[in-house]
Symmetry: D3
Subunit: 298 residues, 6 copies
């Protein structure tokens, strides 16, 4: 009986967090290991369903998984990368869109439904959610680099997302856009998540990745930066504290904050229930990036 | 960190129960020690607010507390009791209504608001929620006994309760009714809770009392009856397993079940978080009374 | 037959007033003799129901009646008064709240329902309608006086009042507020009525009292001031034309006018149907206080 | 002051009637002298506006006035009558429709608007409210008589009437119908009013005429029949108590009662405020025809 | 089969125009020959019904037809004209209103219903759509000329028009207005159409007349001006290119454009399906008058 | 100009069909050549957009295209067929779902959006639209045949389809279902279209295929059967008039008719604008299958 009462107390401890986020929109970028490992996937999906039932409105933007590379490999397609971006010819684009939309997206949808939630999957063409254009890139000599179907967001049209949120579905969005001529583009999912968070006036943007957040290394000992002010980001990049693949994630957060999202989080999907822990504990388990005027308290 | 993950897992264990009761109405009769002891009161009120935030629609019917007797004592009024019912003259009725509605009811309302919930208190005259009539009682010789302003429910008008539920308030109802001439009646709160549960087509009627549920005593050892079929009640009364003050509670449950409430519970308010434990664990901690065709599983 | 036609003509004479106030909110402070005398009470309640059926939206704020003093007397509590305000210790506050909310408020609700109207009673804790704080008071020597649970309005939250108005109920409000810690306060009903009128953007604030309005005495003959401009109030106080208990009433009116209520009235509840007469005749029967730019015509 | 209080009391006496009819639909056939005499017209229109403001939903069906005959006279058209019905050739029909719809109907609309009400005029073609067909008539020899554009109601389509009632307009309907080929028909306004009352599920059908109701003459003294059961009508016709132009009026009432209208009234438009008097007094001033099971009390 | 495919292609060619005008309001002034000739009338009415079914919201304002003059002739009334405006005494006004509202308006309504559309006819008194006042006119000597019941628009109240548009009816409006005293005025239908277009924030004002549009004559050869900028109108009048009855039409267009209507058209009702042709072809068949900053393309 | 008028007349000829189908749901199975040939694809998509703009509510269910076989070929997967059904192992299922949902479905969505329409693509997992189960198949010896992920419809949940129809989107549905454990199934698109038509209470089910409809061959000359009663289907199959791939199509139609769809059509997608021609001409261009009591006229 004692253990039951302990459990009840833990539920009750969650109440202030539940009250704080009731009716708020969280845009969650879901990617990395948390998509590959079946146990971690279950943990994240369950967290998301729980958030929905305690009154949060989650919106998922997912990345690609190993299935894309696997399929390209099977087809004997090898991709060239420039600045970490896959040069995407039309045939590759077709495979990317098929696997992202038809396999990965629907696998998330089906997991939510199996878990007792309601979900609808979209790619950015549905309801023209994501209007995109070709990503321009210039090399060090000022020459244009052609990355093919790599795109960037021009405009988000959130109508259909809002419509399904109202009907209590969890929208699950593949980061594919198109331009007005119907040309498809593959877009970085972190940026898509940020722009969608802005268009929905979200309370939080949460990026689930494979690292625990941003660390500062001093004399060999690493310390997690639980809170970073967005104004400090440029220095942290200069000082090489934020590097590599973390830079676009941090940029998505900064853009989202600048355009009105209240707070942004980078958390480690390798940790079970990382999403709940970040949101339902005071200290959190990842890095929260916030506006200068925000002291990190409620 | 481990302890945090354990906490997250406990939240996640609650998910199936949350899903099961999402959007359902629970009518909770709140009385006894759980109203007097400040800690127990906080525990119950917090449980109710939590239920509200995870999607349940709680409706509270409360009993009288020691404040009524205290006030009557201060006024030098001594009450006569017949069959456990207080003979209620007009002056007593005035005190009962004042204390029930003005002190006890508003104290519950204010506790919910302090806890971050939204609440509205009613007595049964408001919106004519409870139409009542004089409770007839006959002694062993067939003579009428006059209990004064002791009443019984004639009709529940749930319009205003439904209206405030829609606006996300927790309705808190004092068991006072009136007849068409405006005469006030004091009514047993268990019965009022049962009738209100019926009028709202509630999923559950939960009676919070000072005992742990119904016990069977065999050779000195007491065993809690976790589940009782309503058809077995008459025998249990005959066998003196259900006795005394438990009888009207059980009767309220049976009436509610017969008129369409799905399940009824009698639980011990002296146990911290008893409400959460009864609802969010498989075994429960009190006695569940259900219909014959209901096997007690979901 | 002639007398019937005369009656019909009188109904028809009311039409322009009915048209003028159709759909408008009137906040009516109900107190004094009009609450004690059964006949006057019926007259006022009937007037209010009639107003409701001809399209006005009445909101009642009531004062305390002799029942409070009576109950305190029975309990042997004697109250000390400072500047006309009852020093209210916790025990007194409990009695005040019980009687105001549980007896007086519900008696008004039940009278309206008996009269064929729909009513809901609130005290200011319900839906946190009245957020209050301790009334500060300083004596002539600059020392703080402790009046106990005497409060003033911090904020009105009119959500639940609007919700029940939409469902065609007459809200009846007891002038009890609480602060964020749940501490109860007794507040002057005239001020509460004024603040509620402001929060509802009311057309009229009507204070029903025991005097006929404001009088000017010249050489022994008294003349009722039917219309007073709010700008003239300071002089009228200086000239001792407005004195004593009338001052807080007039102040409530001025505050309400300054914050947007269109017109305010002080009328005599000792006169039968005074409410109808003030509203449905050109001359009125009490004193109308209005803004400087308002000429008193429609 | 006394006279004012008397007036207030008269308003208050109207309250039970106002409560009884709140939100109910009254279909009022308006015709005869009450349309010609300016004072009587004002009296009726004012009564109707008052009914609207106290919560009744009036729907007006009007007859033709002397303007039609006047216009036909000016045009040198003389009409032949068969069984009291004007033989209506196409040219006559054009004049009838023009004057009924363009002059009489709009004159009523404009009077209501001038009186502070909201009104919309229709003829039965608008929204195809009245689908009609040629009225067949056979003479004593079994030969068909051709009455031209005299029609009868085939079907009422109340959609647009309900739409404008919801927007708080008083619909004013000219008794013109058309068939599916667009052929216009002039229809008896009493019958149209009855059929419209049925289609709107009206509480009352009120026919305003030039006589005071139905009278029984015994030994020279006339007595108004205040209440007639519809089952007694055939005998009253046989006994020549109901005769002539009263027969179609009575028939419209009986049809309306049989198809669900609650009560029907025939009242004298020559009496000022006859409409209010019939509805807002117990005895009424005309003849009420009701169903057998209805005892005439509320 | 080939011819069928050709037909399908023609339907498909209309798609871009349908998309462009979906959900937009067109106010159509319907008058002249297109009202007299049965075939042309059918053509216009069918065009309007088709527009309704492909998503346009048409609103019709109609002029008077020969029926008015015919009726006045039959009555032996001869009208005096000043500056092309009929001096309208009360008797004439009564005839004008009767024929316009009762015959012409209802004939349009009935044609739409026969064609499978839904229609409601109004004159400007209904719902007080058109508040009007006497048209002042001064002769060359500065003396007032009394034109009788000739009026001008003071205010349009579009509430009831919007209400019936929402219910999918086509409103048909006779250009009769009244002042606050209920005095009727006959108003130029082109101006009424313009003001109604403004009050509805219409996409287009279309005036159907008896000429093909505005022509420029150079050396004997006439050329239709397909597009005119509203800024060029004063010069075109000075150069006698716009003359006579065309001037008020052009003025109505200019006023409508200045107050927010997007584009205005003057087209020839003598041409079959002129309305469809003007709207569903790039070149159009009449004259489009538009704002200076509008290049005439979409 | 003449040719323009001819065009207008053709538009007008379409009006009766537009009126007939206004607001009705058409479920269109889109497959075969009409998906491969770019010109035919444009023709069908344009027809569907046009239908939407003239008031029809189209719902598209699409089949697989050559892209699936192409992708399987590239991957070196060869499929075994049993009774014309592809034995679908998990790897094949993954490819089928990816290409159907990610390429074919989104290509249709993007074509509609480019054409000026609004579209949302679903596969049957989204909102759990299609609950499916494994298709059981037994060979001639009574042995079970394992077709892998070939499924049949258990239940259609049309909630999300209705939600997007209300918001004026065209839903585009890939014929993929799943069972409650999340196992994916590939389902015959004709059957899916039929079941969806039933769940939406559709007016029409239209199957677009590569043949012109059902033909009867008599002495070498083929005659299209424009109308077939569903009761005659068994005989037509027995007589080998309906054979091969046409049988499942006809079966889908019969099931749809039996469950309440009004009419069903099998038309040739190789013919330009076949959809418009079948619907907007009296004779149609394919085969209409209807219920016995339906004479094929409106």
């Amino acid at each position: 009986m004692e253990s039951y009462i302990q459990k009840a107390k833990i539920l009750v401890e969650a109440l202030p967090y539940i009250q704080k986020y009731y009716g708020k929109i969280f845009v969650i970028k879901y990617g990395g290991s948390a998509m590959k490992n079946e146990e971690l996937k279950n943990s994240i999906i369950t967290d998301i369903i729980l958030l929905k039932f305690v009154g949060v409105k989650p919106v998922i933007v997912h990345g690609g998984g190993p299935e894309i590379t696997e399929m390209l490999n099977k087809l004997g397609k090898t991709s060239k990368f420039i600045n970490g971006l896959r040069v995407t010819d039309s045939e590759t684009m077709q495979v990317v869109e098929a696997v992202l939309t038809g396999n990965i997206n629907k696998s998330i949808v089906s997991s939510i439904i199996k878990g007792g939630g309601k979900a609808i999957g979209f790619n950015g063409k549905d309801g023209f959610i994501i209007e995109a254009e070709k990503q321009e890139m210039i090399d060090e000599n000022g020459n244009k680099l052609d990355l093919g179907h790599v795109g960037r967001v021009v405009k988000i049209n959130p109508d259909i997302i809002n419509a399904v949120l109202e009907k209590d579905y969890i929208p699950v969005i593949a980061p594919i856009g198109m331009d007005k001529n119907g040309v498809s583009y593959n877009i970085n999912a972190d940026y898509v998540a940020g722009e969608i968070a802005v268009s929905l006036n979200a309370e939080k943007l949460v990026l689930i990745t494979d690292v625990e957040g941003i660390y500062k290394e001093t004399r060999g000992s690493k310390e997690l930066l639980s809170i970073i002010k967005m104004e400090d980001i440029p220095n942290l990049i200069k000082e090489n504290i934020i590097t590599g693949g973390m830079i676009p994630k941090v940029e998505s957060c900064v853009i989202a904050l600048q355009k009105g999202v209240r707070r942004t989080h980078i958390i480690n999907g390798n940790l079970e229930h990382s999403l709940l822990l970040e949101i339902f504990t005071d200290i959190g388990i990842g890095t929260m990036i916030l506006k200068g005027e925000d002291d990190g308290n409620e």
